[in-house]
């Protein structure tokens, strides 16, 4: 009776784990990296100029300009982040013409003030600063300053276009087109912002366009959608064939327990996918390599356990006792072997970036999941079937007790 209850509990546990993994997978899905989904990965580096040093403010400005351009290209789910002191990483999934996008993004910003006909009246290099602030009525504004030459020119411009609209352009896109309300010399204000955050956004863009910091494309990698799709399809096909061959080998060698090991490998695959989805990890080609390595380790854990059980069985123990002792002894081996690899992977994940890091992170997840499936799933599966005649048979686990008796 107690055995039956335990058995039910174990079956419920296995089913529960599978259900949770499938739920996580279907709820969150797997985020594919650019190398699998197609897209562009660009690393830009800000170049110091005579006028400006690279600091956090400059970087924030460059990021704003790039964000604006990416939005104009109409790209979905872009990732733009700074790395280190002077780098910006831009990731554009599913971009149609990556090379054109890279060029647009890497262009140096250029601020101009134009008349209603679109003719350039003043270039941005005459503007020395732009900040968000409030005017005397408490409205959010952008206050800007001009240098001496600029003051002289802008005085003329504002006199000429009094009461008309002039446009402030970043690259070829209009930021705003305020009406000239007074003659402006060295200091002016742009009104018409709903709040100070909106004004701050424009102030950053005006500053950036006025004293642009050129960026250099350090690295760019683009993968077309065709190649990404082929890569996924090939990976899945290869993974399935590989898994099937491994399962066949295990069944051939270990007989019925081999079927249990193959099932626990399949469960490992499902749990791994669920975990990756739940953690919202991004799957890349090097990440798949990490998974392959951890599949290897999951198989290995099963083999170590089975070999131990076989040894115990050959030394004359009953099947139940052999399973108990085999697992107990295999634990130490598997933990020591996996912890050593975990240490290596964690350090790699900490010290590196990009592809190597993607590899290390999936490897860490994979090792943890493989230990979980080996210790809990394989164990439960074997316990559930431990009374079955298929496990009780002399040949299971590749044991040779029966063979020796015949010799």
């Amino acid at each position: 009776m107690r055995y039956k209850q335990k058995r039910r509990l174990k079956i419920a546990f296995i089913v529960g784990v599978i259900a949770l993994a499938i739920f996580l997978y279907s709820f969150y899905g797997i985020n594919l990296g650019l190398d699998l989904e197609g897209g562009a990965h660009i690393v830009l580096q800000a170049q110091e100029t005579e006028g400006r040093t690279i600091d956090r403010e400059t970087m924030a400005g460059i990021v704003s300009v790039i964000e604006r351009r990416v939005n104009e290209l109409g790209l979905s789910e872009p990732v733009i982040q700074t790395e280190g002191s002077d780098r910006i990483i831009v990731e554009l999934p599913a971009v149609d013409n990556p090379s054109e996008a890279i060029q647009t993004i890497g262009r140096t910003a250029m601020l101009t003030i134009r008349n209603p006909e679109g003719e350039v009246l003043l270039t941005g290099d005459r503007i020395t600063d732009a900040r968000a602030s409030y005017d005397e009525h408490g409205r959010a504004v952008v206050s800007f300053q001009l240098d001496r030459e600029g003051s002289r020119e802008f005085e003329e411009i504002t006199r000429m276009y009094m009461g008309q609209r002039i446009g402030i352009y970043l690259d070829d896109e209009q930021l705003t087109n305020p009406t000239v309300q007074s003659v402006i010399r060295d200091q002016g204000q742009i009104t018409g912002y709903a709040n100070v955050r909106e004004a701050e956004e424009h102030a950053i863009l005006i500053r950036e366009g006025a004293l642009p910091v050129p960026v250099e494309v350090m690295e760019s990698r683009t993968v077309g959608p065709t190649l990404g799709a082929i890569a996924i399809q090939q990976s899945i096909r290869a993974g399935l064939i590989g898994l099937a061959l491994v399962a066949l080998y295990m069944i051939f060698y270990y007989k019925f327990p081999g079927i249990l090991a193959a099932s626990s490998l399949i469960i490992y695959g499902i749990v791994m996918m669920g975990t990756l989805a739940g953690l919202q990890a991004v799957l890349t080609l090097p990440g798949i390599a990490g998974i392959i390595l951890s599949i290897g380790m999951a198989v290995d854990a099963n083999i170590i356990i089975f070999e131990r059980i076989k040894d115990e069985r050959n030394s004359g123990k009953s099947i139940r006792a052999a399973i108990d002792a085999g697992f107990k002894r295999a634990y130490i081996t598997i933990v020591d072997a996996n912890v050593t690899t975990l240490i290596t992977a964690s350090i790699l994940a900490y010290f590196t970036t990009g592809a190597v890091r993607g590899f290390a992170v999936t490897l860490i997840i994979g090792i943890l999941v493989s230990m979980f499936t080996a210790f809990l799933i394989t164990r439960s599966l074997i316990d559930v079937f431990s009374q079955s005649s298929m496990i009780q048979t002399e040949q299971s686990f590749g044991a040779n007790r029966g063979v020796q008796q015949n010799v």
Partner: protein, 298 residues
């Protein structure tokens, strides 16, 4: 089924042979590295790769003609690729500016109808240098951390032996790649790391058995404890490497071009990793033990 008898199979007694083989392997690998050098891909050396697929038959001369026309990357190396899904041409050249890449793309797309840009990779020289530095630093720190853990769980000499074994595996794999002239890219580094992972795993499993035998058969000389451990874990070593190598071969043949170099490195590395955990790691431990005991006596 594999069943071995440690009283009949004396692997540790023949360790001189394994040392000669191991030494020769390391020396030949280093020689190959010295003579042929490494074929550093753009990930490390910097440069540009553009890969196209075509709907019609296009030769490298056709593409070279287009490059000459636009006057960009005229000295590029061109290579055809044939996959189940497409046939294409890879252009490899030095670092190109974004607008140059686009010009090349547009010219090729205009010349051949049904052409498609599969991928472009451009890596500046600084990135490659950083990658190399990062990978080396990470490997160094990982090595130290591993030595610390193994020293703590086993003994310092087990840790140092593991490091020596890993170096053997890495040097061999790199040597083979130098010999074959295969491209060294980020995937190759990931493969080396995987090999290191597997090799640690393999070595620790055997060391774990040696540790167990040291407790179980206290009176037995170390060489016998080690031999018994190696022979008793042989079925596991064979089964694990068989299953893994079978899976790797499947991925090598069916996984596509992008992953092939990676799989080749893995295949070589895993084979040598299994070999070395048996024929390099344990023999070193045995010789170490015999020497230190001889010293203690004298």
């Amino acid at each position: 089924m594999f069943n071995f008898d440690s009283s009949k199979l004396d692997l540790m007694g023949k360790r001189k042979i394994w040392f000669i083989v191991g030494g020769a392997v390391v020396i030949l690998s280093l020689l190959s590295l010295l003579v042929f050098g490494l074929n550093l891909g753009i990930d490390f050396a910097g440069g540009t790769i553009i890969e196209f697929s075509f709907a019609e038959e296009v030769t490298t001369e056709d593409v070279r003609g287009v490059l000459t026309e636009v006057g960009i990357a005229e000295d590029a190396t061109l290579q055809t690729t044939t996959e189940d899904e497409y046939q294409g041409i890879i252009i490899r050249t030095g670092e190109l500016a974004p607008d140059e890449i686009e010009q090349v793309e547009n010219a090729v797309l205009a010349e051949f109808s049904g052409a498609e840009v599969l991928r472009t990779d451009m890596v500046g020289p600084t990135i490659g240098e950083e990658l190399r530095r990062q990978a080396l630093l990470a490997l160094l720190v990982a090595g130290l951390a591993m030595v610390a853990y193994i020293s703590f769980r086993f003994e310092p000499k087990f840790a140092i032996t593991t490091l020596a074994t890993l170096s053997h595996d890495v040097i061999f794999t790199v040597g083979i790649f130098a010999l074959l002239g295969r491209e060294i890219n980020t995937a190759f580094v990931a493969a080396l790391l995987t090999i290191v992972g597997y090799s640690i795993n393999d070595t620790i499993v055997i060391f774990d058995r040696i540790r167990e035998n040291m407790k179980l058969y206290r009176k037995m000389p170390f060489i016998e404890q080690a031999n018994r451990a190696v022979v008793d874990t042989l079925p596991r070593s064979i089964n694990t490497s068989m299953t893994t190598l079978v899976a790797i071969l499947a991925i090598y043949f069916f996984g596509g071009a992008a992953i092939r170099t990676f799989m080749l490195a893995l295949f070589i590395g895993l084979a040598v990793g299994t070999y070395s955990s048996i024929f390099v790691a344990s023999p070193i431990l045995v010789s170490w033990d015999i020497r230190s005991k001889a010293k203690a006596k004298s």
